[in-house]
Symmetry: C2
C-alpha cells in the first residue's frame, strides 16, 4: 500500500519557470507566431512536464489493461463477456486495432491482464498482473474492495516506473473490458456530480432497450453503493480493475514527470480518478481524442479541455492514444528540428 501513498505525495506541479524560455524558442522558429496552433501548445506542455527547454523524445509506450465486469451479467453490452478474453488473445497476436496503430506510430504496446475473468496464466506476451477475476456486480454491492482497487492502481504505477526506466518518455493508456463503459459512466456521474443520463452513451453500440437498461443499472449501482468517500472509494465501488490500473499509470507518469496520453472515454474515467486523487496530475496529461461516447463530450466541456483529435472513434483499446502520441511526437520535432529566423536568414514579420 505504501507505493500509492508515496506516489501521490511525490507528484509535484510542472515546471512553469521555463515557460518564457520555451515560448521564446517557439517564436524564433521560421513561422508566424503561434501559427502551428495546438502543435506549439503541445510542445510547450511537454517541455513543462519534463522540466527542460531542450526536450527529448524517447520511446513511446502504450499499456492496454484488460479486466472483466460483474455488471456485464445485467446485459449492458452488445458483446458477450467472453469477448474480453478473446480480444486479449487477439491483442497479444497483433490483430487488434490498437496493435496496428501502435505499430504505425512506432510505439511499444503491452497488454496487461489486471482482471480478466478467465485463465490466461499460460499466455506468452501478456503481462500477468491479475488482481482478481473480474469485478463483482456493482448493482449488488461494491465492485471490489478498496485494497483490490489500490493493488490495481499500483500495477499501473509500477508499469509507469518500469517503462520510464526502459527509456519511455511518453506513455499511452488503453483498455479492454466488455461492459466497461458502464462503470466509467458511473464514475463520471459520481466524480463530476452529473446526472447519469448526461454521461451515459451506447458503448459498443447497444439498442434503445439496452440503453435504457444501462442507465437504470448505473443508477442502481450508485444508489446501492452511496455515499462515496472520495475518488478511491468510488473507484472501488463502481469502477473497474482496468480503470484503476489506468489511474495508476497516470499517477506513475505524473510522479516520474513523464507525459501520459489518455485514450478515450474509459481511459478518461481512470484519468478522472487520478485527477481527483491529486490536483497536479492534470498538467501531465494529453487527452488524445473526443470519443463518440456521449459522456466524453460532457467531460471536456466541464473541464474546458480540447482533445487533440476528433475522429468519431469509440473503440478504446488505446487506439486514440496511439494516433495522438504521433501528434505529440510531431510537435516535439517541430520544436527541436525547425530552423530559426536567424539561422535560416528569414526576415521576421511585424507584430
Amino acid at each position: 500500500m505504501a507505493l500509492m501513498k508515496e506516489t501521490l505525495e511525490g507528484i509535484t506541479p510542472v515546471v512553469r519557470t521555463i515557460e518564457e524560455k520555451v515560448q521564446q524558442h517557439l517564436d524564433s522558429l521560421t513561422k508566424p507566431r503561434g501559427s502551428l496552433g495546438r502543435l506549439e501548445e503541445i510542445a510547450k506542455q511537454y517541455c513543462l512536464i519534463t522540466g527542460t527547454d531542450r526536450p527529448h523524445m524517447g520511446k513511446k509506450h502504450i499499456f492496454t489493461f484488460a479486466g472483466d465486469h460483474g455488471v456485464a451479467e445485467e446485459g449492458v453490452s452488445a458483446f458477450p463477456k467472453e469477448v474480453t478474453l478473446q480480444m486479449v488473445k487477439n491483442m497479444v497476436s497483433g490483430g487488434a486495432a490498437v496493435c496496428v496503430l501502435a505499430r504505425h506510430v512506432g510505439a511499444a504496446l503491452s497488454i496487461v491482464d489486471v482482471g480478466v475473468d478467465g485463465d490466461l496464466s499460460g499466455m506468452e506476451g501478456l503481462i500477468h498482473k491479475k488482481v482478481r477475476s473480474g469485478t463483482a456486480n456493482m448493482t449488488r454491492g461494491p465492485a471490489m474492495s478498496p485494497e483490490e482497487a489500490e493493488r490495481a492502481i499500483e500495477v499501473g504505477i509500477e508499469l509507469a516506473h518500469k517503462a520510464k526506466k526502459e527509456g519511455a518518455t511518453l506513455l499511452g493508456t488503453g483498455e479492454m473490458g466488455i461492459g466497461n463503459t458502464t462503470p466509467s459512466s458511473a464514475l463520471f456521474s459520481v466524480l463530476l456530480d452529473l446526472p447519469v443520463e448526461d454521461v451515459t452513451g451506447r458503448g459498443t453500440g447497444v439498442d434503445d432497450e439496452t440503453y435504457r437498461r444501462k442507465i437504470d443499472v448505473i443508477k442502481r449501482a450508485i444508489s446501492v453503493n452511496s455515499p462515496f468517500d472520495g475518488a478511491l472509494d468510488a473507484l472501488a465501488k463502481v469502477g473497474g480493475l482496468e480503470i484503476a490500473a489506468i489511474a495508476g499509470l497516470v499517477l506513475g507518469g505524473a510522479r516520474e514527470k513523464v507525459a501520459v496520453v489518455v485514450d478515450g472515454f474509459i481511459s478518461t474515467a481512470g484519468a478522472l480518478v487520478a485527477m481527483n486523487m491529486c490536483e497536479h496530475v492534470r498538467d501531465y496529461l494529453f487527452f488524445s481524442h473526443r470519443s463518440e461516447e456521449k459522456g466524453h463530450r460532457v467531460f471536456f466541456e466541464k473541464l474546458g479541455v480540447k482533445p487533440i483529435l476528433d475522429l468519431n472513434m469509440r473503440l478504446g483499446e488505446g487506439t486514440g492514444a496511439a494516433l495522438a502520441m504521433d501528434v505529440v511526437e510531431a510537435s516535439l520535432k517541430i520544436y527541436n528540428e525547425m530552423a530559426t529566423f536567424h539561422s535560416a536568414g528569414v526576415s521576421e514579420g511585424v507584430d
Copy 2:
C-alpha cells in the same frame, strides 16, 4: 494546352460498385461496427478512389508550390515579400515546418518554384517550373493571363503524373507565397458567391488596420476584374501561380486515380478551382485540417465537409497535409492489417 483539356476530360467518378464489398470487409474486422469512425470512412474512400477492395499504400509525396503576388505591394501581409524566396531556401535546406513534418510521416517533399519573384535558377534541390516572376497586382487588372494560369495548372498535372509513375499513391499539396491568403479569399468569394468579409481572415497575423485594407484590396480586385467567366478565368484574374499549380496537382491526381490530401486555406482555394473545373474531383480529395483562417470554416460549412484534423493551425506549406497523410495511412493499415472476427476467433456482437 492540350494536357489540361485531356486531363479534365479523362477524370471519371470513383468506383462505387465496390462500396458494399469494402464495407463488408470493414465490418468483419475485430471491432464494433463503425467504431473507428473517420478512419473507416477514409479507408473506404481510398478504396473507391483506387478502385479496389484490396488497397495498397505506396509512397506519399507532398508538393509545395511557391509563388509571389503583385498584390503584396498593397501591404496585405505581416511579412515582407522577400520572405517567399527566403522560405524557399529554408524549405530546400530542410528547416521549414513542412520539412520536419514530411520527414516525420515519411513523405517525400518537393519544393516547386512556379512563380517566385527572384532568381532561383541556380538552386539545387528545387524543382524549376517558373511560369512568371510573381503575378501582377490584381487591384489594377488580371493577376496573370489565362495562358499563364493554364501553364501553372499543367505544372501541377505533370508533377502528379510523374509522382504516380514513381510509386506515389497519396499526394499532398502545399504552398509558400507572401500575400497568398489575399487571392485565396478573392477566389472563395467569387467561386462560392460569398461576401469578401465572410471569407477573409488575418493570414499570417495582420493587425486591424491591415485587415481592413486587405478586405478593401480584395473588393477592388474583384471589382476591377469582373465579370468572371468560370473558375479558370477567376484563377487567372484574382488567383496565383502556386494556387494554379495546386489546382493542377488535384486535377492530375484525380485523373490518375490517386488520392490528394489538401492542406489548408490556400490549398483549398486551389482545390476549389479544380472542383469547379470538374465535378468529379471532390471524391478524390481528403481535406487535411480546418485552418484558423476564417474563410476555411465557411468553406467546410458550405460543402458539408468535416476535415480530418482541427489543430488551430494556420501555417500552410503542406504542414496540415503531412499530418493528415499519416492518418490516411493509418486508416489503410487498419483496413489491411486488422484480424477479422473469424480469423481471431472473436464472438460477434448483436446489432
